[in-house]
């Protein structure tokens, strides 16, 4: 079969196409974005008419996917780890309704927080929902597991989670494809009340989910988990997902003296875990993310076997693993290079030259001068970089949409004016409902919706509220005269400053929409435009 050089994300996407999905649903979020983008750009996917339009947020994505599963077709939902918090209501309940057509939730974790606000471990969510979790260690496994994931999803009528981390998502390697499979025909669930979670039905569905646990565990024992025996039983190693690669990197001849449980599928395979614990004097658990397996095996009292890992300091409690960290935990000598010369300066990410947010912040910060610092609640996107020097223009970044509702709470507490700064895509993701709260409560807040007409931070995906922002605000009840659209550009600074000052002084909800296209999106659009002209 054909061999392709693919990112982990792309391997998952190609596998989803080959396994016969009819739609993929997602909101962009690093490091998961490239899964959906690959399908959007795939000629094959287009020919197969696979749905791949971005959703407004992860919850709407998860729900649309569940609807597709209800209709008997295969589907995938993709998100970054914190996106699963947004989708959680649907995700956890979908475990109880169960699936009809196969459904896989891909959650991409970001240990070391390369591009995130926390390093939560999605495996806990999968365990919480009581569904099978697949955790590939490499790109090929990711590809193969998607096929398998859909099979068990349909065999047990259950949603399945695939958990990956940044390192796998954004690393490229060769992947061999399998024979592509046709899409499912539309087929209703056998029981038309399967998805009706009224208490009486939900109780039955939940019992079924509980009964399935033993089957899920049997799958774990027979598929992607492997036990490699070793002669030296002074130590047993449990290596989860990508951690296995860092382990064998330290044994170039691949000859590990200790028994190793390569763990890629949950619930935990009790047979292998029992075996390694019975046979070895001490256990080392290697896992990227939280010490989930370590904690499970160790137990609260840790009165059994000595279990080493992130909890006892054998491995740092936070941050992503690497070959050196694993070598140290095994007591091996590690190589080190030279130190970074002292003159090397930090180079944090920054707003691009010509970015419209720079002009918006210039006006906002100046307009706020009479009121003093510390009253700007912001959100998640490129504009979060406004927290850094030289702008230092914002005071919060917590979760998608929190700017508006936090500003409301602060205004309720008497801090006026309170300002919210949110991007257009984040606003339609999770800001709209908060704005409705503020309107209903006549809160004294000024909401600045930075409309650069794209989802910038993740690379310029379509923004769900494109050309709709002011109408959404109007529809939510913001007074027309307090919806102010302006062009954030240097030579309109004085004019814009006055708008900011006026609206800050207004006692009620006002919305300012600085609207100018993202400079990166603009130059990309121009390049394409001129390339097409050249061709003509």
């Amino acid at each position: 079969m054909q061999k392709l050089l693919l990112l982990g994300d792309e391997a998952i996407a190609q596998a989803a196409i080959d396994a016969g999905i009819s739609g993929i649903y997602a909101y962009p979020g690093t490091p998961s974005t490239e899964i959906t983008e690959y399908i959007q750009h795939s000629k094959e996917a287009k020919e197969k008419k696979i749905k791949s339009t971005w959703s407004s947020n992860e919850k709407t994505a998860a729900e649309a996917a569940l609807g597709m599963s209800y209709a008997g077709k295969r589907t995938m939902v993709c998100m970054k780890h914190v996106g699963l918090n947004v989708a959680a209501d649907s995700f956890v309940n979908a475990a109880v309704t169960g699936a009809n057509g196969g459904i896989i939730y891909v959650s991409a974790d970001d240990p070391s927080m390369h591009s995130s606000q926390n390093e939560q471990d999605s495996r806990f969510f999968g365990k919480f929902a009581l569904i099978p979790i697949l955790e590939p260690s490499n790109q090929q496994e990711a590809y193969d597991m998607v096929h398998y994931g859909f099979e068990i999803s349909e065999r047990y009528k259950t949603p399945v989670m695939m958990r990956i981390t940044t390192r796998l998502a954004h690393s490229r390697a060769g992947v061999v494809r399998k024979q592509a499979r046709a899409q499912n025909e539309i087929k209703l669930p056998e029981d038309l009340r399967q998805f009706v979670l009224l208490p009486a039905i939900a109780r039955k569905r939940y019992k079924l989910l509980l009964d399935n646990q033993i089957k899920f565990e049997k799958e774990s024992q027979e598929n992607f988990n492997h036990y490699f025996d070793g002669n030296d039983k002074s130590l047993g190693i449990i290596a989860c997902g990508i951690a296995y690669n860092y382990l064998i990197e330290n044994y170039p001849d691949r000859n590990i003296p200790y028994p190793v449980l390569k763990l890629n599928q949950y619930p935990l395979p009790r047979n292998y875990v029992t075996k390694i614990i019975n046979e070895c004097k001490e256990i080392l658990v290697l896992e990227d993310g939280y010490p989930m397996v370590e904690e499970l095996i160790k137990g609260y009292l840790s009165i059994g076997l000595k279990i080493r890992g992130r909890l006892d300091g054998s491995i740092p409690r936070d941050g992503e693993l690497n070959p050196n960290i694993v070598a140290k935990s095994l007591g091996m000598a590690v190589s080190v290079g030279k130190d970074i010369p002292a003159l090397v300066a930090a180079r944090p990410p920054s707003l691009c030259k010509g970015c419209p947010h720079i002009d918006s912040y210039a006006a906002l910060t100046e307009a706020l001068e009479p009121y003093g610092k510390g009253r700007v609640f912001s959100d998640i996107g490129c504009y979060t970089l406004g927290a850094l020097k030289p702008y230092e223009a914002i005071n919060s970044c917590v979760d998608m949409g929190a700017s508006i509702t936090m500003a409301k709470g602060a205004a309720d507490a008497g801090m006026v004016p309170a300002v919210a700064v949110i991007g257009d895509s984040t606003f339609t993701h999770s800001g709209m409902t908060g704005l409705l709260d503020a309107v209903n409560d006549k809160s004294n807040i000024t909401v600045v919706i930075l409309d650069n007409s794209t989802t910038g931070m993740t690379g310029g995906q379509d923004s769900a509220g494109f050309e709709k922002i002011e109408f959404i605000c109007r529809g939510l009840g913001v007074e027309e005269e307090h919806i102010r659209i302006l062009k954030p550009i240097h030579n309109k600074h004085e004019e814009n400053l006055k708008i900011f000052k006026d609206e800050l002084a207004y006692n009620g909800v006002s919305v300012i929409i600085p609207r100018r296209e993202c400079i990166v999106a603009l130059s990309k659009r121009m390049r394409v435009k001129f390339a097409q002209k050249d061709k003509k």
């Binding site: 050089l5 990112l7 690093t30 490091p31 974005t33 490239e34 390369h114 591009s115 390192r167 796998l168 954004h170 690393s171 490229r172 390697a173 060769g174 990508i242 690669n245 860092y246 064998i248 990197e249 690497n322 070959p323 050196n324 070598a327 590690v334 190589s335 080190v336 290079g337 030279k338 130190d339 970074i340 010369p341 003159l343 090397v344 300066a345 930090a346 180079r347 944090p348 990410p349 920054s350 707003l351 691009c352 490129c382 970089l385 931070m457 993740t458 690379g459």
Partner: protein
């Protein structure tokens, strides 16, 4: 054969096109490859790096172990120094001399060059100047790649083929300029050796 390469630069400088060409050439040579990239927030003008691993045997880790990299290929001089902890004692630093200054505290360039000079094996090259000279400023990356090519253990012709493939939609002129840039970079290194 095993080559562990750190590619360094600033977000938006296009280190991934260098990676793509080495990757294509490695695949043509029948080698295994793993390449860890940086996407997301750092791409907004922050420091970015890519771990590129080539081998005739299967590769385990996506990340290169510290102190084990065979070379650092950098499109920006200060960025070449940021990854010295990754470089093996016998490793090469191949770097552009043209600074990318988007921070207020960028050190004096002569001090940066002096630090690079302390690395036992290094090649410094003004890739932007060479690329400008041939009227193709965007080919600076290919000059750097050319300068690194003597240390890659990949047949030079395969790198040229990879350029032809990667830029196939951009026409012969772009392809020829990039191949010229690649050759000029290589000549520079051969003179230094």
């Amino acid at each position: 054969m095993k080559k562990d390469i750190i590619l360094a630069g600033v977000g938006g400088q296009g280190i991934l096109s260098i990676a793509a060409i080495i990757g294509l050439a490695a695949v043509e040579a029948g080698l295994y490859l793993k390449q860890a990239e940086v996407h997301g927030m750092s791409q907004r003008g922050g420091d970015v790096q890519s771990h590129l691993r080539l081998s005739d045997k299967e590769i385990a880790s996506d990340l290169i172990p510290e102190g084990k990299a065979d070379m650092i290929i950098s499109v920006e001089p200060m960025e070449s120094l940021r990854y010295l902890p990754m470089l093996s004692p016998d490793g090469w630093v191949i770097t552009n001399t043209k600074p990318f200054i988007n921070i207020p505290n960028y050190p004096a360039i002569e001090h940066v060059i002096a630090e690079i000079g302390k690395v036992k094996r290094h090649i410094i090259i003004d890739a932007d100047l060479i690329a400008n000279d041939i009227g193709s400023p965007k080919s600076a990356n290919m000059v750097i790649l050319g300068a690194a090519s003597p240390f890659l253990d990949i047949e030079f012709g395969k790198l040229e083929n990879a350029i032809r493939f990667l830029f196939r939609k951009k026409g012969d002129e772009v392809i020829n300029k990039n191949i010229e840039a690649l050759n000029l970079g290589r000549k520079h290194s051969e003179k230094m050796l």
